[in-house]
Amino acid sequence: MRFAILVFPGSNCDHDAYHAVRHVLGEEGAFVWHKERSLDGYDAAIIPGGFSYGDYLRTGAIARFSPIMSAVQEFAQKGKPIIGICNGFQILVEAGLLPGALISNRSLRFISKMVYLKPEGQNSLFTAGLDTNRTYRMPIAHQSGNYLISPETLDQLERSDQIAFRYATPEGKVTAGANPNGSTGNIAGVLNREKNVLGLMPHPERAAEAIVGSYDGLAFFKSMAEYG
């Protein structure tokens, strides 16, 4: 699978995503500068984390006007897989590709720590290779990761199986204590209706090798490569 790793001014997890897919997973990948207008030749796109445009105005709000974003819209319509991580999730929400809003963490502070994710199902190429009976350990690092949706939208997302991951205890219990940032329904990752666009706040690319404390995140990219 050939991954496009989008780079906006202020992206800072671009190298991490590149390292995970190229050096660890051994798939193909290349950086795509935000001023470019095409994703031709790529099988999947990663919108990495960071602070695109310094988070000025609102997280992801300026990046979504970058030239590359019309190609991203097209890519999504064609059913190609797009994964937005952290700031990438925020950009996808701003671009209208995913529902909801990401507001400031309940603590009003930046939170950098390990969390556990419980996959809700295997209904997308991102999650098809995951085990729903276990949890996946990886870091979060964000100021605005508090996923906000109305009860009606939550209900709708649940009915259409759009919830990809929830924050859980290491044993897989979805509890208030396991919710790091106040997200509605402990939601850590969400899919579009067609299941080819995933946004998530935790960083699977930062959990791709045992030496950095966890390789649980690698399974996400493996799943994409295998089922994409």
Binding site: P9, G10, N12, C13, H15, D16, H19, A20, G49, G50, F51, Y53, G54, D55, Y56, S107, R109, F110, I111, S112, K113, P139, A141, Q143, H203, E205, R206, A208, E209, I211, V212, G213
Partner: protein
Amino acid sequence: MAIDNAIKEPQVDEELALEHGLSSEEYARIQDILGRKPTFTELGIFSVMWSEHCSYKSSIKVLKTLPRSGGRLLVSAGEENAGLVDVGDGWAVAFKIESHNHPSAVEPYQGAATGVGGIMRDIFTMGARPIACLDPLHFGSLDDPHNRFLLDHVVKGIADYGNCLGIPTVGGEVFISDAYAGNPIVNVMSVGVVRHDRVASAVAKGPGNPVYLVGSKTGRDGIHGATFASEELSEESESRKSNVQVGDPFSEKLLLEATLELARRPFLVGIQDMGAAGITCSSSEMAAKGEAGIRLNLDAVPLREEGMIPYEIMLSESQERMLVVIQKGFEKELKEIFDRWDLDCTPIGEVIDTGKMEVFSNGKRVAEIPCSELVLGGGAPQYTMPARRPAYLEEANHLDLDALPEPKDYNAALLKLLARPNITHKGFIFEQYDSTVRTNTVIGPGADAAVIRVKGTSKGLAVSTDGNGRYTWLNPNAGGRIAVAEAARNVVCTGAQPVAITNCLNFGNPKDPEIYYQFSEAVAGMGDACRLFNTPVTGGNVSFYNENPDGAVYPTPVVGMLGLIEDLEHTTTPGFKQEGDFIVVLGSINGELGGSEYLEMAHKLVAGEPPLINLETEMNVQGTCLEGIQQGFIHSAHDISDGGLAVCLVESLLAAPDGLGAEIHLTRRLRNDEMLFGESQSTIIITVAEDDLLPLQRIAMGDQVPCITIGRVTTSGRLQLNDLIDLDRKQLRKAYMESFGRIMGA
């Protein structure tokens, strides 16, 4: 209609020079150098370049006594923006620590943020990509809401800047004492990696080569920041917020990427970041280093505000700017790089062969000064300051333990100690820092040292910052030695060989002979330790005038230690690993309570002598520990420091898998409070499997290191020590893990 908000240039005379922080003698020398009265712009230039902050005029003679070359150093201290150390495989490490104390005292958020920005530029201006940041913080009592406010905003400033930049903040320390009320110590260390052949230099040479200003526009922020850093804080300091710069981490991120692209290009001649004293400092230092001159046209400088006069442009400390010299003929290539990142890149002058800084504005020459006269190592003044052993020491060093009762309940005493801000877990702070970005963090915050891998190699870098103001106040020389010894011990505990240090020397007013004694003795102590450990000083920063209306802060020499791990297969963390492991003391538990956290907690005393530090013993203990880790049989290692043996054991236990406990039996001819809470130096608590005890003892014997088993890792989930301590992990966890947030009111 444009508003004329230009200030009028005042008449230059001695009174104005004194207002600029220069002495009468210095003003006379300026007139000698120029052969005339300086212009207002020139007076401004001299005042910042000869300020303590830029010239090190009161400290340089003492700093020169430190070992500043040798070992793995690629450049000697002071030659470039940061130290440069060879780590093999073609890689070098650039690292440096700096203070941002005064700005943080009056505007904690921006003060701390721009401290991070400044030190990062020092690293990437050398062509090195920053890969780690550490922040040692010393603050006044957190009972005072103002100090809580300062700490909260400093942490937020560090977090917002470093997180946005995408550089992991992996360590530091937090020390709380009344001595820092109103004048917090905010130090920032950055570590970067660079290929040997891509190191950029801070030099201007080759007459005719163009000089560029790149990055942000120039405004009025931060004018006289360097001078501000060179005087005591006072009641009026709050009104000096305009001296504090404002940071923009987004611009810095763009500048970082553009600079690293530029550093790879052969047409780059030299580059220096603009920190203190902005254009003035970068241009004069680069030209002096290249034994060249520099001509600057201020009309070309992109400005943020209207009506700025030459004096303001030359002294502005607007952030996120760099001065760049390239080979003539490559202007287009340079512009392409900065256009890509949407950054200004403006030619503002050229290198000339007169050896002078010649500054023009509106076609008029507003300054003409020989560059060498401005800089450290050239014409900048150097003073030998009088020193006198402080009078307070005699009384402070006296400690009569017999007059102090032992605690009746050791369980209660330990729980109380664990909840102290100086002991308790600092997750409240470091969980606000992104510590995992760049995916190199092998050991993150909370351990003895952080470990960062160097991708593409088997190597790791261990980094730690240490400095104990209480010890240094009680015995400046010992404080200096212990700062180096503890920092070295901390990197050793992760499995690294100590390689080199950077230091940040935070002291009071150097014109006070008692303060100067503290300074020169602490440096002497550091020098002794660095020579013995073969860890030269790569550079750093001196911050004087750290005083509040009640007097000077504790003398606080902070050491940033770089350690090298050749093979990341062999690293160690503080946490106990498995049931049945033997818990072993390397070194001796001497039980000194002088200057300890316990003494201050239980008896409100900062008194006695700090713990004994024998540098030979220290070397030997570290040698045994390192060899044990490299041979693969040490399962955990954690040194005794603040809070003593009891706290060390708790920290190793709480970092262990759930359910594990520890059972300890030890006897010493000491009082129990000395044994449990004394802060013995050169002592590391390790765990090994029973079968590995013998080989460990063999190594220790060869190094003449005491090696005594004191207990075992159990499955009781409790810490049990003689008949003194019996606490379960829940109780320990509550006291140790949850106190800092509660103290901060979060």
